[in-house]
């Protein structure tokens, strides 16, 4: 990473040295490993690390501990996928909209996916993950287009406030409509209320395995978008002057973001604030170069989600506080701070 053509020259001085960033990335990878181990070991039934290693070497379904470990491993995998997907999606959305408040939850994208999934379950009788992930994509895409188009009409284009308000309004509408569907169907309601909080509990292998390829594909695609996002961050005119096909770059980024949000929502339900948190934190560390922001958020997302999941299991013993709730409780104060102490146009 010696060549720096994609970086805005005026901002280059703020970027830390490459070796320091690489070391930070390695440190984060270790942190991901650490929270993953914590995710397997900590819970209502604490498990010795040695037992966990035994299960890894010779898995025996007859031993209760080993089953618990297997369940928690799937849960941790789900957390890794969801965190990576939502963290990257937040960065991508902030990149294309140049909006510091862009977050899959705040802009209603996750609510759109959630509403589509509820419709799929209640109205079309879809039960498999592979069946409703397409509904999730469609819902996420529809809301993304509506919110962005509506938010960018009129004077000043897509200002942060207009887009955020459009997202909040569309979310309010979708929540009301979701409730309307749920009231007609108590079986769906009973399943759905555990899903709508945004939780990693009880996500079994049959749900996670078919959705994992979507997340992985989205992650890989996202990591290649750094250069395009760097160009976009200079504004449309400069970007096309640099030879970037602006419309194409936007469209591809948006599709990747929608795939990431849709599959994350299909796994865990609507989770807010991961994208917002991760994107700001990553930018704080790396400076404005998206080629560093993207890998950082790929690792920060899982750390955040898994840490929140473990925290939820620790503070509400013997029950648990779902990860979506922990993140909302942490994320809303962060958003309020952001609104109070940062100039909104700053990005």
């Amino acid at each position: 990473m010696t060549e720096r053509t994609g970086v805005p020259s005026g901002q280059r001085r703020r970027a830390p040295a490459t070796y320091r960033l690489t070391a930070g990335l390695a440190g984060l990878a270790v942190l991901v490993l650490l929270v993953s181990v914590l995710g397997v070991v900590i819970g209502a039934r604490p498990i010795e690390l040695s037992v966990a290693l035994d299960a890894l070497r010779a898995y025996d379904p007859g031993i209760a501990e080993h089953q618990v470990i297997a369940d928690r491993a799937v849960r941790t995998l789900a957390g890794l996928l969801v965190g990576a997907a939502l963290g990257l999606a937040g960065v991508l959305m902030q990149g294309i909209t140049r909006n510091p408040l862009a977050d899959p939850g705040l802009l209603g994208i996750n609510a759109g996916a959630a509403f589509a999934v509820v419709c799929a379950i209640a109205l079309f009788g879809v039960t498999t993950a592979l069946g409703y992930v397409w509904f999730a994509f469609a819902g996420a895409l529809f809301v993304a287009v509506v919110v962005y188009v509506v938010g960018s009409l009129g004077r000043g284009g897509a200002t942060p406030v207009k887009v955020a308000l459009a997202g909040a309004a569309v979310s309010a509408a979708l929540v009301a409509l979701t409730t309307a569907v749920l009231l007609t169907d108590s079986v769906t309601f009973d399943q759905h209320r555990f899903w709508t909080v945004g939780s990693l509990a009880g996500r079994d292998w049959d749900l996670v395995a078919p959705l994992a390829p979507f997340v992985v594909a989205g992650v890989v695609a996202a990591l290649f978008l750094g250069r395009a996002l760097n160009a976009l961050s200079l504004g449309d005119d400069v970007a096309s002057g640099l030879g970037q096909r602006v419309g194409l770059a936007r469209a591809v980024t948006a599709v990747v973001a929608v795939v990431l949000c849709g599959s994350a929502t299909a796994i865990a339900g609507p989770i807010w604030f991961v994208g917002l948190f991760v994107a700001h934190l990553a930018r704080l560390v790396t400076g404005p170069d998206y080629r560093w922001i993207l890998p950082y958020s790929l690792l920060l997302g899982p750390v955040l989600v898994l840490a929140a999941d473990v925290l939820g299991r620790v503070i509400a013993q013997p029950g648990e506080l779902q990860v979506g709730i922990v993140l909302s409780l942490l994320g809303s104060p962060f958003l309020i701070l952001l609104v109070r102490y940062r100039k909104l146009s700053e990005l």
Binding site: A168, T179, L183, L335, I336
Partner: protein, 348 residues
């Protein structure tokens, strides 16, 4: 929406007079329509009562023993719909004008979310039923609004910060509601869901009395403070030059609007979009640059009553809570309004 205002001097007075009389006519027509909807909603049910009998029973004349059904069984529900709808409409109109954005109604900026969270905690975690739940909802809305106001305050309150802080609070409160729903057993959770949608079922005279009394207190204050809205819409500097005490006016208006939304939500639950649609519809009907507070309240009452009629009688097999209908009607209208307001540059 403010339409073209004719400013040629000789015609100003005439134009203004026309606007004012139009607003009056609109209010009268809305009142008549609201009364008609109320009569229809009272007349329909398991026993259908002819409209003339309904009107006679309403004015105290017992026609064929129908007055018990009319006054004891059906009228409370209809009256609660009218009162709550009017309160929501008025509250929405004040917020929208104050923040100068038609999207800033109490349901979207998180205030009714506070009522919901408090009510669901009361219903599911504490196990309360009936009036205490309403009280909790009222307190929840007020507390949320106060929190939003305090968190927004930074040498004054600006519209966009109010909205964004409201959105953040709303997110937090929604997650509390979802958490409570997962904790409860499925029947309790369903009951809570009906409350969360907003329902007029099982409303009695005691609800009418409580809601009526609180509105009798708040509405005059709201209308009185409403005279500051027009100068405030012109911008802070102009308003100050016109002698409006800025922060005091804003504070008073917010308190009135929040109290209205809280009272209505406590009575019927957070019925979606009534507060949101009433203001813009009323403005369009009444025309002119005014804020149209009275027409907004009347539109709110009409929307609520008609939605409840549809929710109760339009589907043969099921009776929906009223909030389902207002949501289905309100959501497309919201999208259209979002598009229009942004295009004319009033979206923020």
């Amino acid at each position: 929406m403010p339409t073209s205002l004719d400013t040629r001097p000789p015609t100003v007075a005439r134009t203004r007079g026309r606007k004012r009389s139009r607003s009056t006519v609109v209010s009268l027509v809305l009142t008549a329509a609201g009364f008609l909807a109320l009569c229809v909603s009272v007349s329909l049910g398991e026993v259908t009562i002819p409209l003339p009998d309904v009107v006679r029973a309403l004015f105290g004349d017992d026609a064929d023993g129908m007055s018990y059904i009319v006054t004891e069984l059906r009228l409370p529900r209809a009256l609660v719909a009218v009162l709550a709808g009017a309160a929501l409409g008025l509250s929405g109109a004040i917020f929208q004008s104050l923040v100068r954005n038609p999207l800033a109604s109490p349901d979207i900026i998180g205030i009714t979310g506070g009522a919901s969270a408090a009510a669901v905690v009361a219903l599911l975690l504490i196990g309360l039923r009936g009036f205490p739940v309403s009280l909790a909802a009222f307190a929840g809305a007020l507390a949320t609004a106060a929190a939003i106001y305090v968190l927004t305050w930074r040498k004054g309150v600006t519209g966009y910060r109010l909205v964004l802080v409201g959105v953040a609070m709303g997110a937090m409160l929604t997650s509390i509601v979802s958490y409570c729903l997962t904790r409860a057993d499925v029947y309790d959770a369903r009951e809570a869901l009906v409350w969360l949608t907003g329902s007029l079922n099982a409303k009695t005279w005691s609800t009418v009395q409580i809601l009526g009394l609180s509105l009798a207190l708040i509405v005059p204050l709201a209308l009185l403070a409403g005279r500051w809205l027009l100068p405030l819409e012109l911008g802070d500097d102009t308003a100050q030059a016109l002698g409006v005490p800025l922060e005091r006016a804003r504070m008073g208006l917010i308190v009135a609007a929040v109290a209205l939304a809280a009272a209505a939500t406590a009575a019927v639950g957070p019925v979606a979009f009534v507060a949101f649609v009433s203001g813009p519809i009323a403005r369009r009907l009444a025309g002119g640059p005014g804020i149209a507070l009275v027409p907004s309240a009347l539109v709110g009452a009409l929307v609520m009553t008609v939605s409840d009629l549809v929710a109760q009688h339009a589907f043969a097999s099921v009776q929906f809570p009223v909030g389902v209908i207002t949501a289905i009607v309100g959501a497309p209208y919201l999208l259209w309004l979002l598009a229009v307001t942004n295009r004319v540059g009033r979206g923020g």
